[in-house]
Assembly symmetry: C2
Homo-oligomer: 500 residues x 2
């Protein structure tokens, strides 16, 4: 019997299940490189004998490792470690290696698609649910455009965006304390397209991008797709550690740094003003571009002031992206970027090579919607509704009810980043609560590598107050009974919706 | 005086202007590498003396070379060749070299944007003009969706596309003789996005892509953006030469081959069935993917049968792209792809990383539009109208009126690829006819490298019969008087529209 088996610290007196202990133990050995690619795990019966556990316990542990693609079963031969731990994040990703990552991302992305019905208690979606959409007002705007512009509403639009809408966006940015003009505005088909355009325009294969840990997986996918080296920096309670950040920047010389300074996705963390100022200074000192994804600065429930990097951008180094998916309607696929003049034409070119221009009809209708003062009214309604939900979850998380889970309560935004008891894997919990028609976003979707399995993201965007009550109670009940957590089936479903 | 000056064959008895002769002569010397990067051209007065021409003639020639970025003027020092002729197309494009190309593309793309007013005679656009759009019918479809689906019309759509629309697209493809199912359909925000997704999903930096010469510059931009090596193959009257194609494939081992087999853009050329079959066989023999851009097979005016590569795709190697910009409304930004199952999930991932999904409202409305049988009715109307225009231009081109220009009349489609007299630069003619509020697409926009300046593309999509008569007459008149063709100003304008 291999000596490493004896290094595992399996204890039936611990609160976590034995199979979880074995699973975590072997995972750690792989992570420490004590178990290497190609190593054979002991046969189930042998392993069970040495550890003095039931064979079913070992089977369960192996199944979890297989699900994570850390081991592979070969028929009639045994179970082998199938993970080359060479910390590829610091290396150039080329050819096969790069393809492997792409495929891994694909699997992640596909898993992010979940089946949602009208009855589903949807903690997974960070986008407003259809009942919150101002359908009638937007329909009016659409009709006004069709009557006014007729066929021209279906002509190609300027790649930069419909000029009157660009002006509205510049005005909107000013309300957020950002001084800009329509000459810096680029209309985009959603924030994901903005990130993709920046990746196309700024990054060349082999360039380094720094991101927060954890972060938005759609951004990671876009950076990988450019053949970039991506490196993450752990978030602390008020943003990344500036000393560690400078050290990393000095060493890796990133071309781009991707940040969400307010109510970050998924953690809800916000940066202090001092940190934002320090980052701006470092961008000039070390010559990198900042991509600021302004996820939802609008929902500042418990914070007195919100600062964006763009409003502090004295060196013209910040590209600012604003999604309307979270604060308006995701299916509209509209948003805007503020782009410093020195890279503006490069990004317009990227837009042209990507999809030429965004639908003119939708751009024109949105402009009319702003014109009639509907935007502010809707934002107010949305903010009020979200504030109630925010308080509801907050009070549950702060109550005795939820002593099994921990959460640093954010000062605003749509997301709560929850930590489960050690050994309780959120992906497994996912399958369990899905049976009760409750969904959330498993935390591992937000990690570049070495995911933390005990994390999950709860969003308030698509759940009613009543659903929050029922859903949270049920989830906490299920976390308490951590039996039968193994589920190696893949999630599937016909009509799918991405978790963003 | 440098000896090469004497090699130029300048003759005042030739029909083309002396400055054009000088310009073409020096260009050829640069192309032959007889003049190299950094070489100094003779001072204007010296050059004029040796060639026995007016100094103004030399000035004009130098201005043209400067416009083409082949030479650069250094104040107080002279004019220098500024073109590194190392035929970069066969090499990997990295870093600065790649950036240079990107910038060149940017300039091309920006130049492709032209100012259009309602009075403009627009031979440049290959997209239907707003008066041809079925605005009322589409508005009805939009209203039906809004009433039926309410907020759900603004939710995220499945990244693959709205399922009922994918079914309609599979049915539409079947009408084109392509056997497919909705499982192979990916909805895209226009053909440009389709090309971009294929580039993202299939190509890695350094991969080789073969294209036709000339070809669609938006595709070239998308391939370059992936860091690909792009190589073009000259078109003959019935498609690329198969022997030359096989030789090139054997040598360069392309990952992707981008073709427009019917009524190609910009040439109007169509492939024979034999050639298409041969290309399919070669794709299997040499293991490459074919990207078939089905530009406008629908407008087969003078040809009895139209064949697509996809309908012959016995090895599942063809990705087929269908744009609706040419056959419906460009500003809608909708189209579809047929993707073989082995690369389907890769392209869905690329779509997610690019913009998550296409607007659900527009997808749903288009599905309703099909449901009510409006698509076929509109296609019939469009085809009848285009056929009249096609015949009108054809009869002008075949008449004595236009003996200055030559054109191989296509058997259908929207484009006529016109050759001007030797030395008459279409880019210069462009400025001249633009003064008369007539626009066309200068041929050089469609070349990967070494553009043919004497070519231009005339499209029938956005001109009335009356405009065709007036516009063609005026253009031919201007071609006859080739004086004052120098114009080194850049074209600009506030509201711009891309030439596609």
């Amino acid at each position: 019997m291999d000596h490493w088996v004896h290094q595992m610290n399996i204890d039936s007196n611990k609160t976590s299940h034995l199979y979880i202990q074995i699973y975590c133990g072997i995972k750690q050995l792989i992570s420490n490189k004590k178990l290497k690619h190609g190593d054979r795990l002991p046969a189930v019966r042998k392993m069970a004998g040495v550890l003095n556990v039931n064979t079913v316990t070992v089977v369960k542990a192996y199944e979890l490792l297989e699900r994570d693609e850390l081991v592979i079963k070969k028929r009639g031969s045994g179970t082998y470690v199938n993970f080359e731990n060479n910390d590829i994040m610091g290396n150039v990703l080329v050819n096969e290696e790069w393809e492997k990552i792409q495929l891994k991302q694909l699997n992640q992305m596909t898993e992010r698609n979940i089946s949602i019905t009208e009855e589903t208690i949807n903690f997974a979606s960070a986008n407003p649910s259809p009942d919150l959409f101002p359908v009638d007002d937007f329909k009016e705007a659409l009709l006004e455009v069709l009557d006014r512009d007729k066929g021209f509403a279906f002509s190609y639009q300027d790649s930069r965006g419909y000029a009157p809408l660009r002006q509205r966006m510049a005005d909107l940015a000013k309300c957020n304390g950002i001084s800009t003009t329509s000459e810096e505005i680029q209309i985009i088909s959603g924030a994901q397209q903005g990130i993709d355009l920046v990746a196309k325009g700024i990054l060349q294969p082999g360039d380094t991008v720094l991101i927060e840990r954890p972060s938005y997986s759609g951004a990671i996918a876009a950076f990988y797709s450019r053949g970039s080296r991506v490196k993450d920096i752990e978030l602390t309670s008020d943003g990344i550690d500036i000393d560690l950040f400078e050290k990393t920047v000095k060493e890796l010389r990133p071309k781009l740094v991707y940040l969400m300074p307010n109510f970050q996705n998924p953690t809800g963390i916000s940066y202090t003003l001092e940190k934002l100022k320090a980052i701006i200074e470092l961008s000039e000192k070390y010559d990198f571009t900042i991509l600021e994804d302004d996820y939802v600065n609008e929902f500042a429930f418990d914070s007195s002031s919100v600062n964006t990097l763009k409003s502090l951008d004295r060196y013209q180094r910040v590209i600012y992206i604003k999604s309307f998916s979270k604060i308006f309607m995701p299916g509209l696929r509209l948003g805007y970027m503020i782009v410093p003049s020195k890279v503006y034409s490069t990004l317009v070119m990227a837009k042209q090579a990507t999809d030429i221009s965004t639908s003119g009809l939708l751009q024109r209708a949105l402009e009319r919607y702003f014109h009639h003062g509907k935007w502010d009214r809707n934002m107010k309604k949305l903010t009020n509704e979200y504030y109630k939900r925010f308080c509801a979850i907050k009070s549950i998380l702060e109550s005795d009810l939820s002593k099994e889970i921990t959460c640093r309560i954010p000062s605003g935004g749509l997301n709560f980043w929850i930590e489960l008891p050690k050994g309780v894997d959120a992906s497994l919990l996912y399958s369990k609560v899905a049976n009760k028609n409750i969904v959330f976003a498993p935390g591992r979707l937000f990690y570049l590598n070495k995911p933390v399995y005990e994390r999950l993201r709860i969003s308030i965007a698509a759940v009613s107050l009543n659903q929050i009550e029922i859903g949270m109670t049920e989830m906490i009940r299920l976390i308490r009974s951590t039996d039968k957590l193994i589920n190696t089936e893949k999630w599937s479903g016909e009509d799918k919706e991405p978790i963003l």
